[in-house]
């Protein structure tokens, strides 16, 4: 099974290497990892999908916290969250097939972002399943290339993100972190 983590880190050189090295060192397999800036300067946000069970997820969380540059770790595997993957797919398109493909694109609520004489480029966002499914139906037309961002995740509701912004983005220090106990997997409110 997989576990999904949202990890806030200091935006400093080498931090991605530290995080990736930890997974290699502790023999955890990364299924996908995305990283980008947040709206606050100095803080990056990673979404990491790891092939591990609940016990493994607790270890991952605890080891991530040992990295000095890691500000906060949320295991969102079992919390209600929105998951999205973005893909760009270049598919062969002849005058005969172009309209078929455009219909499929509509069904998947995807978008055509480039049209060339013999191909179309499609942009699609959604869960991994949805994108897998679109790739399957496009396959017979001839997929020339495809690129995917990997999963990004955000917890539903308004309790988490505003507090994270307030706490993490101010680089406020210790108050940012949940107090790790033996129940590492459970969500500890930031106010704790």
């Amino acid at each position: 099974m997989s576990s999904t983590f949202v990890v806030y880190v200091e935006d400093k050189p080498g931090v991605l290497n530290r995080v990736a090295s930890l997974f290699r060192r502790r023999a955890f397999n990364i299924e996908s990892l995305t990283v980008g800036h947040t709206e606050a300067p100095g803080v990056s946000r990673m979404t990491i999908v790891v092939g591990t069970d609940r016990d493994g997820a607790r270890k991952v969380e605890a080891h991530l916290y040992k990295l000095v540059n890691v500000l906060r770790v949320d295991d969102v595997t079992s919390t209600p969250a929105v998951y999205r993957d973005l893909a760009m797919i270049k598919v062969q398109a002849t005058p005969d097939t172009r309209s078929h493909i455009m219909q499929l694109v509509d069904v998947y609520r995807a978008r055509i972002v480039d049209v060339a004489p013999a191909s179309l480029m499609i942009e699609v966002t959604g869960t991994e399943d949805k994108i897998d499914s679109l790739l399957d139906v496009l396959h017979p037309y001839g997929v020339i290339e495809a690129v995917r961002t990997g999963r990004v995740a955000m917890a539903r509701g308004e309790t988490r993100t505003p507090r994270v912004r307030k706490a993490a983005f101010a680089l406020g220090g210790p108050a940012l972190r949940p107090v790790p106990g033996v129940d590492h997997g459970t969500h500890v409110p930031l106010s704790a």
Partner: protein, 580 residues
């Protein structure tokens, strides 16, 4: 201790710019550093050039591995941070074994390395190594500094991280142009505040209550004392806890000294080469109270059969260690000293006499297997030599061991009464640790009677540090437990590889002559009757003395839990008739 601080170091802030190299020393002095163990080279030379103006003594090692082991030994003996310094490239890579040693044993060491100028980084310049990349998994944290402005805040943060929480090594790699650049120095403005670093966990009240219930209910409890008790200076609390509850105490290798060996509740060392009765007691216990230890595989044996009937309480400062190897019933995350302080008022005095009597029975059964109780067959056994060293030093020496058979015999036969009286590498097990770590320990505690107990194999890995010892005028006595083999490997070959002794016999130099080449007195010991007089002669000598103790090769460390075996499945010394 007050020290007359020379002029440059007295500044807290300077409006006149200082060079990066001066700032390095300003910071070290402010952190209370009095000794730096190092080896100069091109990329760190600006820092060395600035050194003489500061009240810090530099110890020139003979190899950078030795420098880090010295800093480690210094840190463990003093209870403070040790500092090692080296140049870029090979200087830095030679430090790797020392850094990994400090990491595995949670020893606070700050390593400062020079790096090629920032413009050259990434160009495969001469003596350029990506040492922050190399040491990423073996440091608690590390830094690459390319700007002179960063030197003071990074060094302060490095010391803070090295010594706080679960201690560990921190490496600071400073580019040569940052050392040569200059900027104003403001110590106060450099105060560390790493936003994501939190060393100060405390357990929740409900967890403490749960732990107290388990403790007060238990019938066959056992305390397992590890290095964290020493690092957290919780020895007195452990003792108070044990005495109030009459719970017996077992120790890990690095926990030795945290509880007095002569205390009636002391059981001794547990684990792979632990005392048989301790391992039996662990397996029969109904409660384990683990204090500042991490359930290393050398301590637990097979995890699937480890302490099957025991509830487990784990008091540990590092959250990542709780439930890592052994699932526990209660994890109390925090400094051992504070957590024990929280628990102590809640424990009720308890009568564990039946349990203690049961352990005593187990202990009596082992008497027939103790080599000290065997009839003297005229041969000199390492166990005898170490026992006699213990006797002759009154049990008060600060012993630094290397790695291997002698290390285990030391742990079994030298009875340590005080914390920080045994310094040994537990986690990494690097041969060559003893001599340099002993030099560091002696410089930290000049009044201590420091002995390096070392095998003939491990001694030859870092014996170049004899030069450091002589140059520094350090009196460390050395006991080479010389059996002409890589003994621990030989023992594995004997037990598990059909006694095929490939690549373990050693052709050694004459260590007594070697000592004399360094101007050190050497004494050869070949019979048991010579051990105590030789130790006495070493004690009486003003300079260091090297004892070449020729011990029986055909011997093994007993008991032994084979890798992957259960803790109670020990290979035992064949029983013999006991002499009364």
């Amino acid at each position: 201790m007050t020290r007359k601080v020379t002029r440059p170091a007295a500044r807290r802030r300077s409006t006149d710019p200082l060079t990066g190299s001066q700032i390095v020393w300003e910071c070290l002095v402010r952190e209370g550093v009095t000794h730096v163990f190092g080896y100069p080279g091109g990329a760190i030379l600006p820092v060395y050039d600035a050194m003489p103006a500061y009240p810090v003594h530099h110890v020139l090692a003979r190899h950078e591995q030795g420098a880090v082991h010295m800093a480690d030994g210094y840190a463990r003996a003093a209870g403070g941070v040790g500092v090692a310094m080296a140049t870029s490239g090979p200087g830095a890579t030679n430090m790797v074994t020392g850094i990994a040693t400090a990491m595995m044993d949670s020893s606070p060491v700050v390593c400062i390395t020079g790096q090629v100028s920032s413009a050259l980084i990434g160009s495969d310049a001469f003596q350029e190594t990506d040492i922050t990349g190399v040491t990423l998994p073996i440091t608690k944290h590390n830094y690459l500094v390319t700007d002179v402005d960063e030197i003071a805040p990074v060094l302060r943060e490095a010391f803070y991280i090295a010594r706080s929480g679960r201690p560990g090594p921190v490496l600071v790699d400073i580019a040569k142009d940052a050392q040569q650049g200059s900027c104003p120095f403001d110590w106060d403005a450099a105060e560390p505040k790493p936003p994501g670093y939190r060393p100060d966990h405390r357990p929740r009240a409900a967890e403490l209550r749960h732990a107290l219930e388990l403790i007060n209910e238990s019938k066959r409890p056992l305390m397992l004392v590890g290095h964290g008790v020493v690092l957290g200076q919780a020895e007195a609390l452990v003792r108070a806890f044990a005495e109030r509850t009459t719970i017996p105490v077992a120790m890990t290798l690095l926990g030795i000294g945290a509880f007095p060996a002569s205390h009636p509740l002391n059981l001794g060392m547990m684990g792979m080469h632990g005392e048989a009765w301790v391992n039996e007691a662990v397996q029969q216990a109904d409660l384990l109270i683990a204090l500042g230890m991490r359930f290393d595989d050398r301590v637990t044996g097979s995890l699937s059969t480890f302490a099957p009937g025991a509830r487990k309480i784990h008091v540990e400062i590092d959250p990542a260690e709780v439930n890592k190897n052994v699932p526990v019933d209660v994890g109390l995350i925090g400094d051992v000293h504070k957590v024990l302080g929280d628990l102590l008022p809640g424990v009720v005095p308890n009568d564990h006499s039946a349990w203690l009597a049961r352990i005593d029975e187990l202990r009596q059964c082992a008497t027939a297997r103790g080599i000290q109780n065997f009839a003297d067959d005229g041969r000199l056994y390492a166990a005898h030599a170490i026992h006699d060293l213990w006797k002759a030093t009154g049990g008060g020496a600060l012993v630094v061991t290397d790695v291997g058979q002698h290390q285990m015999w030391e742990a079994q036969y030298y009875r340590h009464e005080a914390p920080r009286s045994l310094i040994t590498s537990g986690g990494l097990g690097p041969m060559g640790f003893a001599l340099p770590a002993a030099i560091g320990a002696k410089l930290a505690r000049p009044d201590a009677d420091v002995w390096a107990v070392v095998g003939d194999g491990g001694f030859q890995m870092t014996m170049a540090e004899l030069g450091t010892m002589v140059q520094e005028g350090v009196k460390v006595n050395i006991a080479i437990i010389n059996n002409g083999y890589l003994g621990m490997v030989r023992q594995l070959q004997e037990f598990f590889y059909g006694a095929r002794y490939h690549a373990t016999p050693l052709v050694n130099p004459d260590f007594v002559t070697l000592a004399s080449a360094y101007g050190i007195r050497g004494i050869r010991v070949t019979e048991r009757s010579q051990v105590i007089p030789a130790v006495d002669a070493a004690a009486a000598d003003a300079g260091p003395v090297l004892l070449d103790i020729r011990v029986e090769a055909d011997d093994a460390v007993y008991p032994m839990v084979a890798a992957g075996a259960g803790l109670d499945q020990m290979i035992r010394r064949p029983a013999q008739e006991v002499v009364e």
